[in-house]
């Protein structure tokens, strides 16, 4: 009996001491906030010593770093890392490749060769079509010219 009473007394004393010595959640939170000063995008809440991080991190490394930096703060029992990682923005599309006039002049000549009524001029990447063409042939000619990587095609053809 005596021994168990003693145990009880020790237990009560110890737990009281522990309870009174454990930092308060609000104190832990302030300490963490201080630590995470350089990452204002992350916020923290502490409940019963469990720190929960939230917010948007720029990458996984930043997310891990945030959790790592606070796990040793006194009073933190565990860290729940609820931060999300912002997906990187898609790379901007590559600029459109426009062939040089010297290349275009040659390839446009090849493409228009079989359409005797068609005249084509090339300047600054712009292919200007004049003359005349049969309606049935227009699509074929345009399909062909569109593969040559011109800047644009000005169709001024008279369609017969």
């Amino acid at each position: 009996m005596k021994i168990s009473k003693l145990f009880l007394a020790v237990f009560i004393t110890t737990s009281t001491l522990l309870f009174s010595c454990a930092p308060k959640d609000s104190d832990i939170q302030s300490k963490i906030q201080e630590k995470l000063k350089s990452m204002p995008e992350i916020s923290v809440t502490v409940k019963d010593g469990v720190a929960t991080l939230s917010g948007e991190c720029k990458d996984e490394a930043a997310k891990d770093e945030a959790a790592e930096s606070i796990k040793d703060v006194k009073g933190v029992k565990s860290v729940v890392n609820d931060c999300t990682v912002t997906p990187p923005p898609p790379p901007p599309p590559a600029p459109v490749v426009i062939n040089a006039d010297s290349t275009l002049i040659k390839s446009v000549a090849d493409a228009t060769k079989d359409f005797p009524g068609v005249k084509a001029d090339v300047k600054d990447g712009i292919v200007t079509l004049t003359g005349d063409i049969k309606r049935d042939n227009l699509k074929t000619l345009m399909m062909s010219l569109n593969t040559l990587k011109p800047k644009k095609i000005e169709n001024k053809l008279t369609i017969k």
Binding site: P93, P95, V96, K106, S107, A109, D110, A111, K113, L138, K139, T140, M142, M143, S144, N146, T147, L148, K149, P150, K151, K152, I153, E154, N155, I159
Partner: protein, 138 residues
Amino acid sequence: MSLQDKYKQLIDAANTDGVSNLQVREQDNVLYIDGDAPDGATKDKLWDIYGQIDPDYRAGDVVMNVNVAASAGTKAKVVTDSTNLNIRKGPGTDQPIVGKAAHNEIVTLQSKTNDQWWLIKTDAGAEGYCYAQYLSPQ
């Protein structure tokens, strides 16, 4: 209205009809549509849609470089109006003619020099460069 809105139907069709490596870019008020069509019928359909939105292709605000994906060994049909197709020594109309492929003849693609000139071989053994516009991959 942006060009992508104007040609929305065309872009949507390219997406639904399985044009691969599709790139739609707007630059200096011209819409550039690039990609590989799965077959000639798809390419034709896209051109018909383009022609409906911009009759006779007058607006000059689109460059559509969508070609039929074809690799070495692909059979292609000669789709000239009615005439024979010249087979040339090199890729260019300034190159000497080394043979002819008949209208509707089936030839075999050896390699693509570019979107304009393909190296082909006929069943009779003639080999050289033909203008790709007159070849329809089968």
